[in-house]
Structures are given as structure tokens and as C-alpha cells.
């Protein structure tokens, strides 16, 4: 599904003393199958933005199109939109509520009105793709470990079979191994299901490693939108917004400033290793 935002604006509490412009003139186009990263400090408008992507919030100005169709049209099927665009919110394990893991994951398919058999099938598939063993189907989700709970919660969204998957800080609060596992899992699901993924993250390293394109939110506006190289080349501007670039990028910049290397725009560990070991081997 392609997503188009055209001059989207959102004002909270219009006409009250709390009035706040949360989105200002946001325009972009996301093609089918892209892997997008959204960065921005707390309160920059990231979560307001993703809530517009599946119609949980309605824009107060501008238009949003999915596959060319305006979602604010009266005839537009908003229920299907929510099914097609899945959102995994921050700390999704806090939304688990059913008595068993299986029932919780089946909540979404059930709401779609699918026959039981099909809903069960989707539940199995979703749990399998997040790496939760069948033996946990009848266990209470509240008895699982933190990392497992999060996987079950993500499975609950995957069971809707979304064409676009949006994740808000899916690795927050996990230990290094848990972090890596979750991110690897998301990258794998994207490859296997061939879906569009939007990853909201505070970690520049994660974004650099996984996504193709970065959108930077600042003060409700889309401040930057480009490839990873393009965005991380604008280090000063990012720092002004309270963001940063990956450590590796900073180091490679230092080395270049000292005339030790010629390359610019290196932002992942693997690339840096490749370039530096070549040089060191030459000696």
C-alpha cells in the first residue's frame, strides 16, 4: 500500500487554552514495501503522526491517501484501513488482557469477523513468526517474561495481516540481546511478508542499520526526509534538534577531518570495519 500525506495538519484542543499544533504541514509519500525510520525527540509529533497513518486520529487540515484514495472520504472503509495498517504501540505488552496467549492473539482476527478456524490459523502463524512456541498457547500472558510478552503483543497485531506495520520503539526497555532479537525479527518479517514497515526509534544506531529511509520530526514538522546517508550528513542540524548521528559516523568524520580517510557518509559498523581494515592491511 502506498501512503501519501498532503499538507497534513493536526491541532489538539482547538479553541481552548490548551490548543497545540502537533503536526504542521506534513507531506510525504511512502511506496509499497519501503522500510522507513522515524526519529525525533519526545514531543516532536512522532506518535501523533503514526496515529494518523491508520486513522486513529483525523487530521484537522490536509489530506491522507492510501493507494490514491482519500481516507477522509465518507465512503472510505476505515475498518479495512485499520486492518491493513497495524500499529504496535510503545510497551505493547501493557495492552494484553486475555486469559491465554492464544485468545489474546486471536482478538484482532475475531474482531475482523473471521471464522474460528481461520482466526486460529492466523494466531498460530503470527505466534510462529514472532518465535513463541505452541506450548505457550494456553498459558496466561501475564506469566510470561518481559521479552515474551512483547512478542505476543506484536503477534496480536501481525494476526491482523497488515500490509503496513508501524512499530513505536519496539525494543524499548529490553536488554541488548532482547533488543537485537526483536529488531532482527522485524527485519525478517518484513522480508518474508513483503510489507511496508515504519519503525519509530530513539536509537540512531538501530535506524542506521535497518531502514532505507529516515524521516525526522521536529516540533510537529517533517524536518528531514531522505536516505540514511542524506539525513546523517546533516549532523549539525540534527544536534540542534536534540538528536545525534551514530557513533560510527562521528568517528569516521573525525578520521576524515584528520586526513586519515577519504570516505564520507559511513554509518554502520560493517562498513566502517570494511574500510578501516582495508587500510590497515595495506600497511
Amino acid at each position: 500500500m502506498s501512503i501519501t500525506f498532503d499538507k497534513v495538519e493536526h491541532v489538539y484542543g482547538k479553541g481552548t487554552s490548551f490548543e497545540k499544533m502537533a503536526l504542521k504541514n506534513v507531506s510525504f509519500h511512502i511506496r509499497d514495501g519501503e522500510f522507513i525510520g522515524i526519529i525525533g525527540h519526545t514531543g516532536s509529533g512522532k506518535s501523533t503522526l503514526i496515529q494518523h497513518m491508520n486513522g486513529l486520529l483525523k487530521c484537522t487540515g490536509g489530506n491522507i491517501y492510501y493507494d490514491g484514495k482519500d481516507i477522509s472520504d465518507r465512503e472510505y472503509d476505515r475498518k479495512t484501513l485499520r486492518q491493513n495498517v497495524g500499529i504496535v504501540f510503545q510497551y505493547p505488552e501493557h495492552q494484553l488482557f486475555e486469559a491465554t496467549v492464544g485468545k489474546d492473539v486471536a482478538f484482532g482476527p475475531g474482531n475482523l469477523g473471521l471464522p474460528d478456524l481461520q482466526a486460529d490459523l492466523r494466531t498460530y502463524e503470527a505466534l510462529k513468526s514472532v518465535g513463541i512456541d505452541d506450548s505457550l498457547l494456553d498459558v496466561s500472558p501475564f506469566d510470561l517474561s518481559g521479552g515474551q510478552k512483547r512478542r505476543v503483543a506484536i503477534a496480536g497485531v501481525l494476526a491482523m495481516k497488515p500490509k503496513v506495520l508501524i512499530l513505536d520503539e519496539p525494543a524499548a526497555g529490553l536488554d541488548p540481546v532482547g533488543r537485537r532479537d526483536i529488531l532482527e525479527m522485524i527485519a525478517r518479517i518484513r522480508r518474508e511478508e513483503n510489507i511496508t514497515v515504519v519503525l519509530v526509534s530513539h536509537s540512531m544506531e538501530d535506524v542506521a542499520e535497518y531502514v532505507d529511509r529516515i524521516m525526522v520530526m521536529n516540533d510537529g514538522a517533517l524536518a528531514m526526509d531522505g536516505t540514511v546517508e542524506e539525513v546523517f550528513a546533516r549532523k549539525e542540524e540534527l544536534e540542534e534538534m536534540g538528536l545525534s548521528v551514530p557513533q560510527i559516523t562521528l568517528l569516521m568524520q573525525d578520521l576524515k577531518d584528520d586526513g586519515l580517510i577519504d570516505e564520507t557518509g559511513i554509518y554502520t559498523m560493517d562498513e566502517a570495519v570494511r574500510i578501516l581494515s582495508q587500510r590497515l592491511l595495506k600497511r
Binding site: 525527540h41 519526545t42 514531543g43 517474561s145 518481559g146 521479552g147 524499548a172 526497555g173 529490553l174 536488554d175 541488548p176 540481546v177 532482547g178 533488543r179 530513539h202 536509537s203 540512531m204 544506531e205 536534540g242 538528536l243 545525534s244 551514530p246 557513533q247 560510527i248 562521528l250 568517528l251 573525525d254 578520521l255 584528520d258 586519515l260 559498523m269 566502517a272 570495519v273 578501516l276 581494515s277 587500510r279 590497515l280 600497511r283
Partner: protein, 277 residues
């Protein structure tokens, strides 16, 4: 300042009839000594016992076996609990769930109020503590309107107003954005250097531990690895076994084969220059 002597702690889960359902050993015969003025970082995967360890230092938990001494007080003596808690304050993970009062000022005063401090002294200390973390201008505001990092600073000020000797940070940055993280870690270092407060920082973020005097890595309720950051991070394979990573600079240096354990960007550039010459 803090001494653990062969401490074992067991979580006992009981079923509805009160029979023992399961026993989890969260700390297993652990001994540890933290000196006054030290900055100690504690790493370990989820469930390795880090938080249980932290809660022993301010007597929220008491050892099943062994002894915990804080500033000379034994945490098992109930009559010394308040003495211990004044000296060893604790900053928790979720900024929202540790703020009690409606304004910044009143929240900072919560600890001193509990201590029964006289009003004049209290106002002075509360003002000082708020100035120390740079929140004096926001003293009459509601904590709900602050950013995550600022809320954590309120929590820190609340401890400073009790004039602590030691502050334990239990994953204080897990819910913050990068700017908030930096703010809290910098504050912790500053309190350590300028005020000589002993700092114990529990975290999942390797970069935050680079400036510590000592790193302790926990596994299954025991200390698995311990030493200066350089000593710990030179054992990359062991760390990976423990579910940890290396700081980015250390990992890169090791992968391209630079000598010595490199922790910072400056060190990397120096070592690279040397190697290439």
C-alpha cells in the same frame, strides 16, 4: 560505603492456599564492596538480579541469608531503615511512578517531610536541591508538564534534599530519549565528581558505563565479571556469552585489529594513527 557479605535472596511464590509454589534465587551468595565516592555501573540481562541487588542497598528488600551493610548500618535492623534510606537514595525506571506531589517543589520536599525536618531547614535544602539540578525555575509547576528527563531530575533532587551519601539509579534512562539519557548520565557523573556522592548505575546501555570507575556484570544472581571498563570490555567473548555487547568504539577497534582496549572516539583516532604510521 556498601558491603554485601554472602547475600542470598529468594523470591518465594505461593499458591492460593499459601503453600510454596516456586522459589527463585535472585541473589546467590553474592559478596560485594563499594567504596565511598566510587562510580559503579551494573550490567546484566533481564532477570540477572540487578534490580534485586539495588533494592537491597536501600533496604526495600532484606537478604534471606547473609548481610548487607550500608554506611555501617545493617539493613536487617528495622530501626535503622530510615537512617539507611536517607543515606542511600534510589531513582527508579518509570519517571511517572515515583513522583508523589502536585508541584516540583512539594515533590522534592517529600523525603525531608518524612524525615520530620524543621520547615526553615527544609525550604533551604529543597531550594538548593532544585538549583543543583537546574529546576528551580520550574519549582511551582506540575511534574506532569515536564519532560521525562526533567521528571528524573525531580526524583534526583528529591534525594539530594536528604543529603545522601549514595544514589542508586535503577535503569533511569530506559524510558527517555537520547537527550534525556545524556542529561541524566551527566548529572550522575557530576554528583559523583563535585559532591563525592557514591553512584551505582544499573543500565542496559553499554555507552553509559564507559565513564564508570568499575563495571559489574551479573548473571543468575552472581557477579560474572568485574573490573574497570577497560578490563571488562577487553573480554568481548565473555560479555557476549552474558548477553551483553561492547561499546561501539571498542567493538570497531577489536574488529579491525587495533591494540589495547579502546573506549572512546579520541582513543580510537590515536590508536588508528599509531597503527597506520
Amino acid at each position: 560505603m556498601v558491603r554485601f557479605e554472602n547475600v542470598t535472596f529468594e523470591y518465594i511464590r505461593r499458591d492460593e492456599e499459601g503453600n510454596v509454589d516456586s522459589i527463585t534465587t535472585a541473589l546467590d551468595d553474592l559478596s560485594l564492596h563499594i567504596k565511598k565516592g566510587e562510580f559503579v555501573a551494573i550490567l546484566g540481562s533481564n532477570g540477572s538480579g540487578k534490580s534485586t541487588l539495588a533494592r537491597h542497598i536501600n533496604a526495600l528488600l532484606k537478604p534471606t541469608e547473609g548481610k548487607v551493610l550500608v554506611a555501617g548500618y545493617d539493613t536487617s535492623n528495622d530501626k535503622d531503615t530510615l537512617e539507611i534510606r536517607q543515606r542511600a537514595g534510589m531513582v527508579f525506571q518509570n519517571p511517572d511512578n515515583q513522583i508523589i506531589a502536585e508541584t516540583v517543589e512539594e515533590d522534592v520536599a517529600f523525603g525531608p517531610e518524612n524525615m520530620g525536618m524543621p520547615v526553615d531547614e527544609m525550604q533551604k535544602r529543597v531550594d538548593e536541591a532544585m538549583k543543583r539540578v537546574g529546576l528551580y525555575k520550574k519549582r511551582l509547576e506540575s511534574p506532569n508538564r515536564l519532560s521525562g528527563g526533567q521528571k528524573q531530575k525531580v526524583a534526583i533532587a528529591g534525594i539530594l534534599a536528604m543529603k545522601p551519601e549514595c544514589i542508586i539509579f535503577d535503569e533511569p534512562t530506559a524510558m527517555l530519549d537520547p537527550a534525556g539519557r545524556r542529561m541524566i548520565v551527566e548529572t550522575a557523573h557530576e554528583l559523583n565528581k563535585k559532591d563525592g556522592i557514591t553512584i551505582i548505575l544499573i543500565t542496559h546501555n553499554m555507552e553509559e558505563t564507559v565513564g564508570a570507575d568499575r563495571i559489574i556484570v551479573m548473571e543468575k544472581g552472581r557477579i560474572a565479571l568485574e573490573g574497570t571498563p577497560r578490563q571488562v570490555f577487553s573480554k568481548g567473548d565473555r560479555l557476549k556469552e552474558l548477553g551483553m555487547e561492547l561499546p561501539a568504539m571498542t567493538e570497531l577497534a577489536q574488529r579491525v585489529g587495533l591494540d589495547g582496549c579502546i573506549l572512546t572516539r579520541e582513543e580510537f583516532v590515536e590508536a588508528y594513527k599509531k597503527a597506520i604510521r
